[in-house]
Amino acid sequence: MFLTLIRRELLANLMTFRFLVAMVVTLSLVVANTVVLIADYERRLTSYDTAVKQHHQKFLKRASTYSEVEGEILVDRPPNPLSIFNAGLDRRLGNSITASHTFVPTLWDTRSHSADNPFLNLFSSVDLVLIFQVILSLLALLFAHDAIAGEREAGTLRLTMANPVSRPIILLAKYISAMACLILPVVMSLLLALILFSMSGSISLSGDDWLRISGILFTSIIYLSVFYLIGLLISVVTRRTATALMLSMVIWSTLVLIYPSLSVFTVNRLWQTPSQLEAAYREIEQIWEAFEREQTDFLRNDSVDGEDPNFNVPPSGSYGAYQISDPMTLKYFKVETRLWTRIDPDSEPQIPHVKAYFQFSEPRRIRAAEKTWQVRQKTLDYVYVRKANVAKNMMRLSPAAMYDFATEAWAGTDFYGIEDFITTVQQYRQTIIDYFYDKEAFSSRKWFSIDQGKVDWSDLPQFSYHRADVSSNVKHASGDIACLFLINVVLFMTTFLIFVRQEV
């Protein structure tokens, strides 16, 4: 009996016009968007490759002394191929960052690749998850709204019940067959997308990526089930199909379109913390003032008269000492660069002092940078990351948002995915510092002068970035998936209880 019911429902759903139309629309949107998104991904990949090449060339051209390396080691974030599924922050945030011993890089120090046009951010981006999120949830509601109400109006529900079949079985049969019909377009669009991927040739998916894609598929199914059950609940509660339809439409537009924007607005209103930033900025200023005091003290107390950081060596080449600061992102550091092209024999006795100066000041600069980072990290996390998280938590009242966040976590385009890259850059910075220590760069003549040849950078460790393995994706996606699952269970139980006690 159960199977008969399922077959009937399946046929009833599959043969409908709405299913056909929805299928055609979804598939054509998926194909059109995948083509566009792949092209966009390829463009970003080219932009990334060009940037890597450019940065390397520029580095070799500019960094002729060790100190001149400041600001010249630029590392780039490759575009994430799974951003085609959920763009997340992958396109929105900067993708190029400096690794230097003078400051610890954070997310807020990134900038965009030079070939990108930031004005294009005026357009909102579409991804495959958005299509599922909007269209298939609509389809789920369209399937569900007349599942019970329609049969009740037509009187067929009574007929079915006249057979020896229990109510849970009817409900379950409806649920299973409708879900089968909803999974079909999801699977087909994913397949189409993957075919297009393999045709493009520029996208190579690793084993982990396949796991991530199946994670996205799994989340999509749970998400659609939530919307189907919402529709079913409405259908059980209401007497007339027309009413059920109206309610479904309003709930759909609220959950998918309106609520996310409304909730973010409320958070932005409540969250204002300029004072935090100001206090932290002052603290950071003090760190660097202390650093400068130490430097001046050193210059004053060494055996050379005066406080000249150039130690009376006649100027040749270039010399730079500057400070970079931004109160909004708490970026703050001081830099000293030297590029002396020749050193007179007369000045030769001064050279050991210059070496001693840098050997003294640069490790302290590194320490100041790390202290700055501790203050910065804490404050920026509070001001920007926690704000974003509160906004996200507010949005989580809508299953559409949960679905978005979960797939974002699967694709690795969420905050943690980007932060993973930043952590790698921070480790790379440590590698550079270790490299400097190994080479005794701070106390070497090549820190400031090229009169005895330029620095040979051939054994500088190269930056390489591999995305974290799939377990971290699972970790960040699991919360939302569990929530969606819970909503499923609750909705099903409620629908079931109401349906069992209802008169037909």
Binding site: V36, F123, S124, S125, L247, F265, K387
Partner: protein, 461 residues
Amino acid sequence: MWHITKRELYNNLNSLRFALTTVLLLALMVTNAVRHTREHSKRVQQYHNAVTESMNRLTAIADDSLYELARQGPGTFYKKPSPLHFCADGGETSLPDRVGSSYDRRRFWRLAYPDANINMMNLGPDVSHIDWTFIIGYILSLIALIFTFDAISGECEHGTLRLTLANAIPRHTVLIGKFLGALISTTIPFMLAMLVNLLILSTSSAVHLNAQAWGRLCIILFIAFLYTCLFLALGLLVSARVQRSAVSLVILLLTWVTFVVFMPSTLASLASGFSSSMARYEYFDRYGQSYHKFRRTWRYAWYQSNDEKMLRTRGEWHTKMAVNEERLNGEYLTFKITQVQRARAITRISPAAFLQHLLEAFAGTGLDRHQQFIENVQRYAREYREFIVDMERGDPESLHIMGVREGMSQKPVSPEAVPKFEDTRNIGKDFNTAAMELLLLTLFVVVLLAGAYLAFVRVEI
């Protein structure tokens, strides 16, 4: 006909959808107004502070000497925040709010255009702003479809259409009656919500809407009206073609989702791929090339001798260098903006994008407004340079060699004489740029209505 309209109206007013849409629109409009009153005052405050600071700086320089005025330039220009920001957000957070002028010890000032911001402060989810563009473009159009999807097919199903037509009423009268009924019943909740919105805005002290702003609002309302008509006509067309209302709703919803939600972004990213913009390093290459060319041409300029010929050479170098660099900056910006404008032109296939452009044009936000602002700045920059030349001519003691301290007037300038920058907007000009789109929108409405009429005349009952 009035009977039919009245009947439709009564039907709609008593229905669940009317109540739900009213609540929805009210909630959205109130949120929109509250948000605007809070944010607008902050924006205006920031703008005024920045402008005052910029003016003070200019006064201080003018008190110093004409030479300094010519070298350091007019400072930073700020974009005036639009009081109608609540109608269309226009992506203002990612557009820069200023144009700077940079100078250094030797080089003269030239305009430097900041890039669009990549917003690191916002790590939260990317959601659409609740502005009128969203409310009208997304919600009102959906409501229009919900009011019309069963207008004809529903009556067909119930058999009441046959009864109506039996009364010797011509079909077009029935259609127009239904159209008017649906139009009025969508307009009522919208007007109500909008009046509440405007009431909150006009009673709050933060927002001042002048006569021009009200005029612009009227035009925006007219556009909203046309846009609603478009979707009503679409709803009637599909409803007349399809016999069953469930099917008509599915078709309408999917059409809506495709054209309103997906089309603009998909087309935009497609179109932005067609043309590539100039990359930053290319720009720097060009910049470097022109700089070296200059150095070769003017290499004598660096002799430290102060005879008049040398001064002239050096002055020429400074002035030409500034102009050349400003031209390059401008070209780089134009490249980028043109790419976006092309993509925007293609998104016009979607009515939602159409509406967005129109509302942005009249609300004075978005990319078009940004371009207007840049044009204003450029015009002012020319005016400023002319003013310097005029003042220079007026000083008999100076050598009239532009670009070097020794050759230029050292007298202070009265700060009142320096031309003031005004970021003006012209409603006539806005109207001209939008007229074509308005016409097209009207045309669409007419075509769809005609289609609905034809479909309805041929339908068998």
